[in-house]
Symmetry: C2
Subunit: 550 residues, 2 copies
């Protein structure tokens, strides 16, 4: 199997930092420290890939090495398809992954095209080359758990515990996020390897294959107001109902199995891992039905907790939709995490801002951490996050940092990082990107745009405009994906990354992109009628033609 | 009712020609000479609109008048939603119309959102402001009919006749295209007003409400090898089966009712126009079912002609899909016009190139006609078209011309027009655009991408890349639409327009855009395995990373 690792240091292997950056970030996505199954080019989230196959990977690398600073590489579902002359302020790479004409936009058609070698599932940051390992998701999950504590437990999660499923690429962040937020956590995970991995990286504290033992650990931790995380080897479709039946009552319930992908993402109850993997090949239809049947069972247990007053939230894996399709009409009774806890942030353009040190030098990140604190001195919550992240999160692949910041902060930070590169305070350029799960970049009616105020959940003009605007603003690479997170048919979303190479030209682009990108999110939420967003738009002087004079 | 007409002449009402151009073209789309129902902002194709409502229209106009040359206006389903700072080489307008997350991408959800005032149906060139009236479609239809003659009748359509339905915004081009190509034509149309309109503009020769009279006119014209067109007032769902039953055999059969929109586009058999219009409001579900039932009848008649050897083609209104949904399993037995007659052109980047004189002066178009002949001296077919078009096609709104040209020709013509503007040979700038139905800009498995060689019909990464690339190349406005032509759920497509204002900066942009845009079509077809496209790519030196060394 091939082992990929991005070049480090100040030496270029491509012709400029604008092309070196996507090259390193593509490779970084496939680094064994970062990717879930690097040998299959799978980065995270079931089958989310960075490139379609190894030939495509090699040709992308070759194309990036040869790319001039007035050329643009086009990538279609993980395959390089063309190089065109554009101009210096245009993106160097434009990416479209997994997009299908709506009537054909389901797993069945996708699977057929995937087998024919015509498609690739790009998830969100897998196919757009800005996945940074578990840290990205630790922050989002941490923010969510803290908000759960604020809304339901007076801001204090000590002595509380959370029940969840899945310790995969993103779900593996849950135990650390919970303990950072002060809560204990019980995660049901069916693969021993996943539990081991979270123990090794220090994200998870304990493991067991006994439900009794798991509950005992949790009980004693809660009694002592300590925060402990436990990985329980088991099937969530079996354990969740069993806990409900026994009258056990967690303080919050959620789930991060890969329910969005019923063929590869969810082990049916009663099946062995071995049988499951074989049946995925030999009898996909039966596998899907069995998985969805089990998801329905798990959702029914979650509904049970919900009805008894336990805060229960869908964490964006589309498990409610699957249960609904299997006949559970009440599936959507408990909310998604976005409308419940994240939307107020989106209204102000606050979202998963992240950056990565192309040098490979952790010191570069520590210096930017300090710069963030210097520029945003009055946000103790942010400072705490930065301190805990430095202490408890191991870098995976190229050192990177994430923190949720909003309109007006993102461009300031970006320009400051660019200046640090210019002044030689960092040993190589920085790339700045974000998840597609952000304020203006996604339409996903079962997750990010669930229950929008004006009913515009399914309108996907917005992420398309976001991608076009980032292209027009001069992002270094821009991507348009379909089906990330919640699976085929259920989302459309856009990514962007911009390079801080220390030049004045980069500063111009950074100023435009890192303003326009979150501003387009404020615009989208203001248009939907959110007062918070309208106030933010007014305060920041956004030009929104339909809201003028309001 | 408001009457819109674009300003003429060299005087600017906006701050530059880059913003004056979209302003005039938006207004031109709503000119009473151009639009089918200007008072409802409907340009063509059922309910294809140029702006969401009059307030949106007014705000777009105001925004364009105020727009600076480093700003970009965002339009979401016909409504102006934001103005952002970009740069001189970025598009001045970015448009996303009618896009829905796939699982919700059907007429039902669209209708609900449309009623809420959250969406607009943009068709193709309606919402992207580059519709030029019937001429655009006359050329495409003419090329198709000529190709039918070549493939089936030794290149000679004299004494032959074509049966069709619909004389609406696009369908109204059929009689003229047929007689230009040498054939007679019988068009069944249910609205007297549509028949009158085609008579007035000289596109249609005769009208009648008697089937006997219609057949008599056709018979005698064919006997004398003359080409005559007849508009028959009637319902295609009734007339087509009746003709089949009587043993009448046309020499070709097609249809251009608005079957893609079963609620507003197709009169059910046996219904009066009055009842139909009321039922659209009062009982949409019943209207849709009745319309689709009737479409099935018409398709069954078309299948009958097809089985008896009459060349029968779907002209891109999705009528086969509707019949299939009503249980006609054989619906797709007769081909769409694209795989049968148009794809070989797409493989060489040949498509519906068009331009428009912002001056309003017909002489500007005649001068560009002459320039086309001068630059492409060796194409008699093209010269004939230009001569006939000048003679027989009345300009509607701003004078415009269309001709199908390919990769390597489009940029040459664009640069030449720009020079003519620079040298004062034209009285104002020219805009160059195209239909979304083009080589690289559409995914539409029942029409433009039907039966692709590699099975990639439904992959919509391609039009998204096309839009991103045109944005990166500096088109003046770029659009991404869903559902054009074949209706909600069945297509995704992109538009672009570039302005020739005579400046050197424009020349740079024109050279990039008018090369890259058709080149992306050649790329898409080469990737699908078409030898014609691969040969074209080699000949033109395109950089296609996966095909290198082939
Ligand atoms: N921001 C968001 O909205 C967000 C954030 C994180 C995750 N998610 C969603 O959560 C899901 C998980 O993401 P991931 O990257 O961790 O995926 P993953 O595929 O890497 O991990 C899923 C894990 O679930 C385990 N699993 C599968 N079936 C199980 C079962 N029946 N019982 C117990 N464990 C089971 C698998 O072994 C695997 O470790 C995805 O659907 C993702 O889209 C969404
Ligand atoms: N390039 C292409 O693929 C292409 C080109 C032209 C048209 N089309 C398709 O053809 C259709 C027509 O386009 P248009 O712009 O002319 O639409 P339109 O709505 O302006 O015209 C449709 C016409 O059909 C008539 N009609 C409706 N039901 C009828 C019936 N049962 N019998 C007889 N007449 C009936 C209407 O009165 C109307 O005049 C659309 O679906 C369009 O997408 C496709």
């Amino acid at each position: 199997a091939r082992r990929i690792s991005a070049p480090r240091g100040p030496q270029l292997s491509a012709k400029s930092w604008l092309t070196e950056a996507p090259l390193r970030m593509l490779m970084n996505n496939l680094d064994a420290e970062v990717a879930e199954k690097p040998e299959e080019l799978v980065v995270y989230g079931g089958i989310g890939r960075a490139a379609r196959d190894w030939t495509s990977f090699d040709r992308i690398v070759a194309a990036l090495k040869a790319l001039e600073d007035d050329e643009t590489l086009l990538v279609q579902s993980g395959k390089p398809v063309g190089v065109f002359r554009t101009h210096a302020d245009a993106p160097r790479v434009l990416i479209a992954n997994s997009n299908l004409v709506p009537h054909w936009a389901d797993w069945e058609h996708f699977g057929r095209l995937d087998k024919l070698g015509l498609m690739m599932y790009g998830q969100m940051t897998a196919g757009s080359w800005i996945y940074i390992g578990s840290q990205g998701i630790v922050q989002g999950t941490y923010e969510t758990f803290v908000e759960v504590g604020r809304q339901h437990y007076g801001g204090d999660l000590r002595g509380r515990w959370i029940l969840t499923g899945g310790l995969g690429g993103m779900g593996g962040a849950q135990p650390l996020a919970a303990t950072m937020a002060g809560a204990s956590l019980l995660a049901v995970e069916c693969r021993p390897s996943r539990i081991e991995r979270r123990l090794e990286t220090g994200y998870l504290d304990r493991k067991t294959d006994s439900l009794e033992e798991a509950l005992a650990i949790i009980d004693s931790a809660c009694a002592r107001k300590q925060a402990v995380s436990v990985g329980l080897l088991g099937n969530a479709a079996e354990v969740f109902p069993e806990l409900l039946r026994r009258g056990v009552r967690p303080d919050a319930v959620t789930d991060q199995t890969s329910a969005h992908d019923p063929l590869h993402g969810y082990l049916p109850a009663g099946w062995s891992l071995h049988d499951w993997e074989r049946a995925q090949e030999s009898d996909p239809a039966r596998t899907v039905t069995a998985a969805k049947e089990s998801m329905k069972r798990q959702v029914e247990a979650m509904l049970g907790f919900h009805r008894e007053g336990v805060p229960t939230l869908d964490y964006g894996n589309n498990i409610r939709q699957m249960a609904l399709e299997m006949g559970e009409e009440q599936a959507f009774d408990f909310p998604g995490f976005v409308p419940a806890y994240i939307r107020p942030l989106f209204c102000r353009g606050i979202g998963p801002f992240r950056w990565c040190a192309l040098s490979g030098d952790p010191e570069d990140i520590y210096r930017t951490d300090a710069k963030v604190k210097e520029l945003i001195p009055d946000d103790p919550h942010l400072h705490t996050w930065l301190d805990m992240a430095r202490e408890r999160i191991h870098f995976q692949g190229l050192p990177a940092r994430i923190c949720w910041v909003g309109l007006g902060q993102r461009d300031r930070l970006g320009l400051a990082f660019n200046e640090m590169v210019a002044r030689g305070e960092l040993s190589a350029p920085i790339v700045i990107g974000r998840d597609h799960l952000d304020s203006g970049s996604v339409a996903s009616p079962n997750r990010e745009t669930e229950a929008m105020l004006d009913g515009s959940d399914a309108v996907s003009d917005w992420p398309l405009l976001n991608a076009l605007l980032n292209t027009a603003s001069g992002a270094t690479w821009v991507s348009l994906h379909h089906g990330g997170g919640v699976g085929m048919g259920f989302s459309q979303h856009a990514g962007m990354v911009v390079v801080c190479d220390g030049t004045e030209a980069a500063a111009q682009r950074i100023a435009r992109v890192l303003w326009n990108d979150p501003a387009s999110g404020v615009m989208r939420h203001a248009d939907a009628g959110y007062d918070l967003a309208k106030a933010c738009a007014r305060e920041r002087g956004l030009k929104l033609p339909m809201l003028e004079g309001e």
